[in-house]
């Protein structure tokens, strides 16, 4: 009898830890996304050159050192609490940008004009491509906000589908690069 009760107690403790870990896991999903993005990009030959994180907004910047092409990310978990994650599924707002260095001042100036126009666009909606320029380093960027369904990348017990994430990042960067090259040669 006594052993039975002890077994019940042990199972209650185990169950409590399971629930506790479920909460922790959910609150850590955005950091897992940051880690997965860093791993995927470093494996693709990019170097992480900037990381800023306040625990809610995460900003990452990568550079492919031989070609000087840059990729930038802003990541934010939209379903940090367990209730919304269970109802909506885990979601994150991800802004991905592609940047390349230009030496021609005229091109930079044209991009700056596009940047001014971009500031009038409601870029909080997904799929809206905007342009930005960093005059000090001579980089121009095209960026797009997207909403990612995190459940497709992260399974239970910290399993990560890096292949799918790399594929999605590649597709976005490829499209942004094509868009930016089109603007530069137009």
């Amino acid at each position: 009898m006594s052993e039975d009760l002890e077994q019940v107690f042990v199972s209650l403790v185990k169950d409590s830890w399971k629930k506790y870990n479920e909460d922790i896991y959910n609150s850590r999903v955005d950091d897992m996304l940051v880690g997965a993005v860093i791993y995927s990009n470093v494996e693709l030959g990019y170097s992480l050159i900037d990381i800023t994180s306040d625990g809610v907004y995460h900003h990452l910047r990568f550079e492919h050192l031989p070609t000087k092409q840059r990729v930038i990310f802003e990541l934010r978990n939209l379903t940090e609490d367990l209730l919304s994650a269970k109802v909506l599924g885990r979601r994150a707002r991800v802004v991905i940008g592609y940047g390349c260095q230009v030496q021609n001042f005229g091109t930079l100036w044209q991009t700056l004009k596009a940047e001014v126009k971009s500031s009038f666009v409601d870029s909080t909606e997904p799929g809206v491509i905007t342009c930005d320029a960093d005059v000090s380093s001579g980089y121009i960027y095209a960026q797009v906000p997207l909403l990612f369904d995190l459940d497709q990348y992260f399974g239970g017990n910290y399993q990560v589908n890096y292949e799918l994430l790399q594929h999605h990042i590649n597709a976005t960067v490829h499209s942004l690069a094509k868009y930016l090259q089109g603007r530069l040669t137009a």
Partner: protein, 176 residues
């Protein structure tokens, strides 16, 4: 540079980004070893990453902190190189503890009071149901980045050797 780009730090020279490059390499090396990054804190010269060792029966989390001390400007870089302090901390978690355990643990805490993690010694610290093992090392960042496979191997060896040591110190305290 109106909105989105203004949120980034924009370090002007690659020299200033060496600690971030190292963080990227650490994330890759740890992930390859089956440790999933689950927490990030980052400011200008200080970064901390929490890893979950998914299939490890002893460790709950591994925390790596990188604090860059020199090399921010060209003169420092030339004189001192790019020195940083890397703090490695492993956590063991027991899922059921009682007050007697805590009293027993005071003995090891007392033994550890005078240990100096910065001198390469492992310091153990008991906190309720967690036991932490900490070690600090002063490293030269240039040895671990931008040298292809050689720097990847150097970094993997550094992390594996020290985490194995910390794990060994914690293993006797793991309750089944």
């Amino acid at each position: 540079m109106f909105s989105f780009l203004a949120k980034f730090q924009h370090k002007q020279e690659m020299r200033e980004s060496k600690d971030e490059i190292l963080i990227g390499e650490i994330v890759r090396a740890m992930t390859r070893a089956g440790n999933i990054p689950i927490g990030f804190r980052a400011s200008d010269d200080w970064q901390s990453v929490v890893f979950k060792p998914v299939n490890d029966q002893v460790l709950n989390v591994i925390v790596l902190m990188l604090d860059r001390k020199t090399g921010d400007n060209a003169i420092q870089q030339a004189i001192f190189g790019s020195k940083a302090v890397i703090t490695m901390q492993c956590e063991l978690k027991n899922y059921l503890v009682d007050p007697d355990d805590l009293i027993r643990m005071y003995k090891t805490d007392l033994k550890n009071i005078f240990k100096m993690p910065l001198l390469g010694e492992v310091k153990l610290d008991h906190q309720l149901n967690s036991i932490l093992a900490t070690k600090k090392l002063i490293i030269e960042i240039d040895n671990y980045i931008l040298k292809g496979e050689q720097s990847v191997n150097n970094l993997t060896n550094l992390l594996t050797t020290n985490i194995t040591e910390l794990r060994g110190k914690l293993a006797p305290y793991k309750k089944t």
